[in-house]
């Protein structure tokens, strides 16, 4: 495989990885701080994408669409947190899985009812369409490059927020000992709502960014949700650093697996069976990665015992 193509695939993997990080960050914060498994996180991603597509169709502005995705997902997050999630924090994981599974049904069908079953399209803005030339003569689509940069910027902002701001300190303290934090005068209920809204906004933002590459449709959230869970489990649940490493690892494994494995198998078998075996192994690769990580480190790469 030519080197340039390989670099392009690595960039694609990186782009996929930072998107997964935006999804996984909210999921891992919500689990770390509130101890909640939220299967409906994919629905917030879908809500963000639909809000963006509807706004872009109405106003024609991509930036307004992004703002709409953040706002809509955050509002949906606050509503869900205050009506349902709050009652689930003290329940066992089983109840949380079932209740949030029920929320997926409600959100998916509700969106289908509002927007219909046909996919919507969100166009990339003119100033981000086409390709750009990177050093060493690599041509790469501008929009995907922008996603990588925005994703990295959000990741850095999140790290800074967790490490340096007052709210970050409260979040970390809440992960360790929620009673003490409450006793010290932090409004725990408000902190939880805030964390949930933050995670929801990130998911909605990811949905809008990806919506411009793929189509915006009901059910788009679930495949990403499963991948985001794979990411946070690999990274260690509750760890933002783990979510970042896990996301990049999953993004690269999936993208490179799909392009490299068929070539690799082609070295010692005929092309058609190499394609078959290579691509079926590639589609399983991230789950194999996750199972392997859990078998050797049952609490993920950065998980605490």
């Amino acid at each position: 495989m030519p080197l340039l193509l390989l670099i392009e695939q690595i960039l694609n993997g990186l782009q996929f990885g930072v998107m997964l990080f935006l999804m996984a960050a909210g999921l891992t914060l919500v689990f770390g701080v509130m101890g909640l498994i939220n299967l409906a996180h994919g629905s917030l991603y879908m809500i963000g994408a639909f809000a963006a597509a509807a706004t872009a169709a109405a106003t024609g502005s991509f930036l307004l669409a992004l703002v709409a995705s953040l706002t809509a997902a955050a509002i949906a997050g606050v509503i869900v947190e205050m009506t349902v999630m709050r009652r689930l924090y003290d329940r066992d994981h089983l109840d949380q899985v079932l209740a949030t599974f029920a929320l997926i049904l409600i959100f998916s069908e509700g969106t289908r009812w509002l927007f219909g079953s046909f996919p919507l399209y969100l166009d990339t803005p003119g100033w981000l369409s086409g390709s750009t030339v990177l050093p060493f003569g690599i041509t790469y689509p501008k929009y995907r490059l922008a996603i990588i940069l925005v994703g990295l910027a959000v990741a850095m902002g999140l790290f800074a927020m967790i490490a340096r701001t007052r709210i970050g300190i409260q979040i970390r303290a809440g992960e360790n000992d929620r009673e003490t934090v409450g006793a010290l005068g932090v409004n725990i209920a408000r902190l939880y709502t805030l964390v949930f809204a933050l995670g929801a906004a990130l998911a909605g933002f990811a949905g809008a960014l990806i919506g411009a590459i793929q189509s915006v449709q009901v059910g788009m959230g679930e495949p990403v949700l499963i991948l985001a869970f794979v990411v946070i489990v690999i990274g260690g649940i509750g760890s933002i650093k783990g979510a970042f490493v896990g996301a990049i690892l999953v993004g690269l494994t999936d993208t490179l697996g799909r392009s490299l494995l068929p070539v690799l198998f082609g070295l010692f078998m005929d092309t058609s069976s190499a394609t078959t075996i290579g691509s079926s192994l590639a589609s399983m690769s991230i789950y194999i990665l996750m199972a392997a990580v859990l078998i050797f480190r049952p609490r993920g790469l950065f998980g605490t015992a």
Binding site: A102, E222, V233, Y287, A291, L294
Partner: protein, 327 residues
């Protein structure tokens, strides 16, 4: 409030009475619905052994459901195309005989559950939920991308498999077969629950340290429960494939795992008859709400949410007035 044993008996009678009434009224579709409920109940009873009695929250039971389905699909496919499954080192032919298919489905899914269990039981809590999900997804993507048995399109079987002396294409006969198997599985699981093994398993769920202190290995208890659980769900998968005469990767999807879990929780976790009530209720809601509105999943979701938030012992717990199952 009604006693739980009375309720269980009423449930079984109702599940038998509905298709019989449908037979008299000449409504074969209702019989098919009842058969679906019975098959889902078997899958749920299987999951309940791991989830309810062992406390192992598996979000990967679609793996066993699918393996059972594909055991049926592959055997029947080779029988209908008259090609052997393998020729070397010895010839294995396909078959259309239900008992052989059931046995294959049970053994294959038990082996898979043993393997997945050995690896997954190294983890606990949410990590266990996620690693079982990962194994289910692995098989899902494998069946989608492996072209030998239909890939994404699945496999169609033209004629339902046979059972010596019975006309299995007759809906009520096939219902009777599935109902008989459900009774057998219920009997088996209630025996297991009351056996020394079942008691030790329940104890391990409640307090691992104590069960270790009396000389039992929780890992072994969990693994045996997980294996039997997978085998029962595999049997349900074979029946489900036979009901539809079709298998596809959808059987392996994580939504299938979610639905089987819904049957268990809807009915009541850790009660032998819980999944029967849950599956029957699910099919009933699907039929009734599906007739009311195209967007019936909204109502289903709202009902599920209500049950999780406000009826903690599931349907059976709600009716019998006891939140916690006996153990």
């Amino acid at each position: 409030m009604i006693r739980e044993s009375t309720l269980n008996a009423a449930l079984l009678i109702l599940l038998l009475a509905v298709p019989l009434a449908a037979l008299l009224l000449d409504e074969p579709f209702i019989i098919t619905l009842a058969t679906r409920a019975v098959i889902f109940a078997i899958a749920g009873v299987g999951l309940n052994l791991a989830l309810g009695f062992g406390g192992l929250v598996s979000l990967g039971h679609a793996a066993f459901f699918g393996i059972g389905g594909y055991a049926m699909g592959i055997l029947a496919y080779h029988a209908q195309t008259f090609t052997p499954i393998m020729e070397w080192p010895f010839v294995i032919q396909g078959t259309k005989a239900m008992p052989v298919i059931w046995l294959t489905a049970v053994v294959a899914s038990a082996i898979a559950a043993l393997g997945i269990g050995v690896l997954s039981l190294r983890t606990t809590g949410i990590y266990f939920i996620m690693i079982t999900l990962a194994f289910g997804q692995m098989l899902f993507f494998f069946t989608i991308s492996w072209p030998a048995y239909g890939g994404e399109d699945g496999l169609s079987i033209y004629v339902r498999n046979g059972f010596a002396g019975l006309n299995t294409m007759d809906p009520i006969t096939f219902f009777a077969i599935c109902y008989g198997l459900l009774l057998a599985v219920l009997w088996l699981v209630s025996r297991i629950a009351r056996s020394p093994f079942g008691l030790a398993l329940g104890a391990a769920r409640q307090n691992e340290a104590r069960i270790q202190a009396v000389g039992q290995r929780p890992f072994t208890l969990y693994l045996v429960a997980f294996t039997i659980s997978g085998a029962i769900t595999g049997l349900a998968g074979a029946l489900f494939a036979d009901l539809n005469r079709f298998v596809s990767p959808t059987m392996f999807s994580w939504q299938t795992s979610g639905e089987i879990m819904v049957f268990v929780i809807l009915g009541g976790v850790g009660r032998v008859f819980g999944p029967v009530a849950g599956a029957a209720m699910f099919i009933f809601l699907e039929h009734v709400l599906g007739g009311l509105s195209e967007f019936w999943h909204i109502y289903l979701g709202a009902i599920l949410l209500g049950i999780v938030l406000f009826a903690r012992g599931g349907l059976i717990g709600l009716v019998s007035g006891r939140e916690v199952a006996d153990d």
